[in-house]
């Protein structure tokens, strides 16, 4: 079953690619759609069936497709494992993935590269499922890299515009920097456990063989990979630019699934990370800092997709707070709920963008709530969910994270998290009010009609955003935290009285409501774009100049080094050495030429010298007796 789940999207991707390359101009809307979405419907069904089985108590599923490589002790199989963690992941990935595919069928309908798009999209699904279901870290890494590749391809989907390709390159390169760390972590892990097998089960069983320092290093390096993939400081700069891709791509890859791979990875290696709480704390701090940082930038952005991108980064920060503080199941819980409301937000944003004829600036929209009623309502629900207003999904998951932070005594992280929660509500509602409430601009506008397949998925996701939180209601609210019990991850156990939990929740909700009210005051009637008039604003609007900093720190020196090598090292030193040695012979030859001057008498002189030398040699060296 798992074999089918992973291979089917790859096969359909290959099939679509071949058909597409066969004739790139042909319009085969139905064929591509049925192939692309059909395969996803099948695997969604299969995943949900496995989920159901597992909820009934079925054991972890292991399947093997074939042996990948066997060289010495390096024995890796293309094998899949569905334990409770991965089954939760694939269930919502396939489910939301299918919805986004359906949505994309509407969004991309008129695009010339429709077949190509679905080929890439299915490739992404296959890679993501490979990542999640992999039985060993190497296969996970293969999936890890392949999602990066499909992300690259999809960000650069509109390749006519060089800026998009640039964004795609940026995404891939920063991901690769992360992967650089990741593969080092994997290699050290493998070397430390050489001969004990390399499946997750085997690593878990033998983790005690590795000493603490090595383990710390491995944990840190693996997290570098997560920083790249999940857009955390300092490798986050690609995510906002990645919004250059089509909106379904942003919804699927850069919101709901791929970017959460880092969180998943940490949860997958939870048996490793519980051994090294220091690294855990580091992860949580990076998460907290990223969450706040992204939220601040998001508050001053005006591109709807970039706001959502920064909010994704911010929410990912929360997830890393959770997994860093060893509350793995609340991290995964937030991944789960976040997938619903963030996908919904992106798809809503996509609908708005399409309706506004590809306008992305929120301050050029306004008062759309009458015309796009359905989009408005669903996005409102999603915004409530992300802001952590009960009873929507985000409240429970975010609350679980902040409670953990508070209860485990990391008050600084908790403070940042709580502040960010308020800020989140502010910038999300700022976006919502600017788009749907604020007075519209004077220009007459005719909205582009939205196909049904773009709106119905919104409704389903809105339902999900409303109710998804109930799977993780904890004791304080009368639930039994179903998801945490189901996942069976090695969570830290925190004890906090119900009353303090209520206090924390009250604080969060009131901060969120405050942010919401503030946003309504500022943007509810008349939305105005932030101007870089003060230094403070200028710095934030320019995203703290991080891009420029990276440019000067890394790209420019590399380019100048490259030029330096080309013009100086290669030409002057290496080639110079050769040319100088040639010059040496040339000069020597010039001297010899002088001897050969054609003057007979000079020759006679050489003759004389030669004979004399020979005679002297004969007499004094060899002792010839005359």
């Amino acid at each position: 079953m798992l074999n089918i789940i992973v291979t089917l999207p790859f096969l359909s991707s290959l099939l679509i690619a071949l058909i597409y390359l066969g004739n790139t101009n042909a319009k085969r809307f139905v064929l591509y759609t049925s192939l692309g979405i059909g395969s996803l419907v099948i695997i969604t069904t299969l995943s949900l069936m496995s989920l159901y089985d597992m909820m009934q108590g079925a054991a972890t599923i292991h399947t093997k497709l074939f042996e990948w490589i066997h060289l010495g002790d390096f024995q890796i199989e293309v094998a899949f494992m569905a334990d409770r963690l991965s089954i939760i992941m694939i269930s919502f990935i396939t489910f939301i993935g299918t919805l986004i595919h359906i949505y994309a069928a509407g969004y991309m309908k008129d695009d010339a590269g429709y077949g190509k798009f679905f080929s890439y999209f299915n490739l992404f699904m296959g890679s993501m499922l490979l990542l999640v279901l992999a039985d060993n870290p190497i296969m996970m890494f293969v999936g890890w890299e392949l999602v990066g590749l499909s992300s690259y391809l999809l960000i650069g989907f509109y390749h006519q515009d060089a800026a998009n390709i640039k964004a795609a390159n940026k995404a891939f390169m920063l991901n690769r920097v992360g992967d650089f760390g990741f593969i080092m972590g994997l290699s050290i892990l493998f070397i430390s456990l050489e001969g004990h097998g390399f499946s997750f089960d085997a690593i878990k069983a033998n983790i005690a063989l590795i000493d603490y320092q090595t383990l710390t290093l491995i944990g840190l390096l693996l997290f570098v990979g997560a920083m790249g993939k999940s857009a955390q400081i300092p490798l986050y700069v690609w995510l906002p630019d990645a919004m250059a891709g089509p909106t379904p791509v942003s919804a699927l890859i850069h919101a709901a699934t791929m970017v959460t791979a880092g969180v998943y990875m940490v949860a997958r290696f939870s048996f490793l990370y519980i051994q090294i709480p220091d690294i855990g704390l580091f992860i949580a701090s990076i998460g907290a800092f990223s969450a706040l940082f992204a939220a601040i930038i998001a508050s001053y952005q005006s591109d709807i997709k970039k706001i959502l991108a920064y909010s994704t980064m911010s929410q990912l920060g929360y997830m890393f707070i959770a997994v860093g503080l060893e509350s793995y199941s609340s991290g995964i819980f937030h991944v789960f709920t976040h997938a619903f409301f963030k996908a919904l937000l992106f798809m809503g944003a996509g609908a708005v963008i399409i309706a506004m004829h590809h306008e992305q600036n929120i301050f050029k929209m306004g008062a759309l709530r009458g015309e796009l009623k359905l989009t408005y309502i669903t996005m409102f629900i999603a915004t409530l969910a992300i802001s952590g207003i009960p009873p929507f999904a985000g409240f429970f998951s975010k609350d679980a994270i902040l409670v953990t932070a508070f209860a485990s005594g990391h008050y600084a992280i908790w403070t940042i998290g709580t502040l960010t929660a308020g800020l989140t509500a502010f910038y999300m509602f700022r976006m919502l009010f600017s788009v749907f409430h604020a007075r519209k601009s004077k220009a007459q506008r005719v909205l582009h009609p939205l196909p049904k397949c773009m709106t119905y998925p919104l409704i389903i996701l809105a339902i999900g955003s409303t109710f998804a939180g109930f799977v993780g209601v904890n004791g304080a609210y009368g639930g039994e935290n179903f998801i945490a019990h189901f996942l069976q991850l090695p969570d830290i156990s925190v004890h906090l009285s119900h009353s303090s939990e209520y206090m924390l929740a009250l604080l969060n909700v009131s901060l969120a409501l405050f942010g919401m009210t503030l946003a309504y005051k500022l943007y509810g009637h008349r939305a105005k774009e932030a101007q870089p008039d003060t230094l403070f604003k200028k710095v934030i609007i320019n995203k703290f100049y991080i891009d420029a900093l990276y440019e000067t720190l890394f790209m420019k020196p590399l380019l100048s080094l490259s030029r330096f090598i080309a013009t100086t090292v290669d030409m002057k030193i290496f080639d110079g050495f050769l040319n100088y040695s040639i010059l040496f012979y040339r000069v020597l030859a010039g001297q010899f030429i002088r001897l050969q001057n054609g003057k007979v008498r000079a020759y006679a002189l050489y003759f004389l010298l030669g004979v004399s030398a020979m005679s002297l040699f004969l007499i004094y060296k060899l002792g010839v007796n005359l």
Binding site: G72, S187, I565
Partner: protein
Amino acid sequence: MNYHILSSIIFLPLLMAILLGVMRAPLKVLKAGAILSSLTTLLLVVRVIIDFNPKGGMQFMQNLPWIQNAGITYSVGLDALSLVLLTLIALLMPLLYLYMLKEHRKGYWYNMLLLQTGVTGAVLSLDLILFYLFWETMLLPIFVMIGKYGNGLRQYNSMKIVLMTILGSMSMLFSILYMGYIYFETTGAWSFSLYDLATIDLSTKSSIWLTAGFLLAFAIKIPLVGFHTWMAPAYGSAPTPAVVIMSAIMAKLGVYGIWRFGYGLFGGTLHYYTPTIITLALIGLLYYAIRAITEKNLRKMFAYSSGSHLSLIALGIFLSNIYAWGGSLYFIATHALASAGMFMMIGITYNRFRSVNIEQLGGIAQKAPIFTFFFAFFALCIAGLPGTGGFVAELLIIIGAFKSSFLVGILSATTMLSAMLYIFWMLQRTLFGASHNETKIADLTLKEIAMLTPLVVLLLLTGIMPSLFIPYLEPQLLGGF
């Protein structure tokens, strides 16, 4: 003379060339003859692969006396290491002939035939004098092809590659002759057979010098950093089939030489050079990659790319553990496939646009999707994306590097970053963006697709199921060299 399969594989192209030359064959016959010989050798190689016994060590041996009073024998044989290269040669030749099907200069075809004999012979010979002979033979057609059929500063560049390579060859020849002499002194008989020479005891000092003689030849051929200034000009000037052979086969022969003769003759002394070579290889890995970033000529860019990856291969050999060895050997094969594909694509680019300058390209993706697919595929293969063979090889080398030392591990893992530095920027400027000219560009023809598809399929196969290929190599790797 008895029929012997390896000798047939070596000499078939040469005999074909002589036959055609004596006949003064017209162009059509010449083409047919060359293609026939390449297909026949491919079939023979398939036969060899089927009969090959991975655990059998050196096999298919043939020993014939040749110049008896000097102890020079004609001796050839095959093991897993040479099998990899032999297969690559046999596979690439028909594809290259397909590539140059429209080529009307006869000398071109003769040179290719001679080249095939040269490289095949070098891969298979077990006598050092014989090896040296083939080693020089393969340089000759390259010299002619660059000097006569190349472009740019072709004559200067062909002189440069030949002079620098000969510098190495001479030092190697000196080492070979000196070893033969020592063998004569100790046993009273002349011999240049690899196995005979491996038995002699050398003093440490002379062994170090003799190793240096061999290593210089191989370092120039690979080329390691510092010995590389012939590379970019030669690649830039050479016609595509010659570039493909240089990058896919001849550069690998340098590595092969270290493996076969370095380990075969000086297993003990090689450790003396290990730190030096590892340092050079690690520098090369990054040096070439950084150099490639601002290179504007695609051929030269991938020349540097080739140098960067070959440094990694050389690194793998000197790390002396099974993962790095396996990775290197695997990389020899997969990089040959990828770079062959890449250089063919660059050749096709040149045919289409009359330019391989990145600044004059751009926007190809809009006009020629199949072209774009193949171009990007090979470029990504070189960047070592999973699902292609290069990934497996790089992974193995990185693991091997970490096994040997932490620092080397980190530095060799930069291969994940190094290729990416130039590949993606190059793709951006070459394939994507707005197109510079409005002329219509023909997409790949069926012939071109047919020529590239085997490479794509093999690259995917090596990436997705390495277990199909590794068993051929593993016994020898476990046995050491």
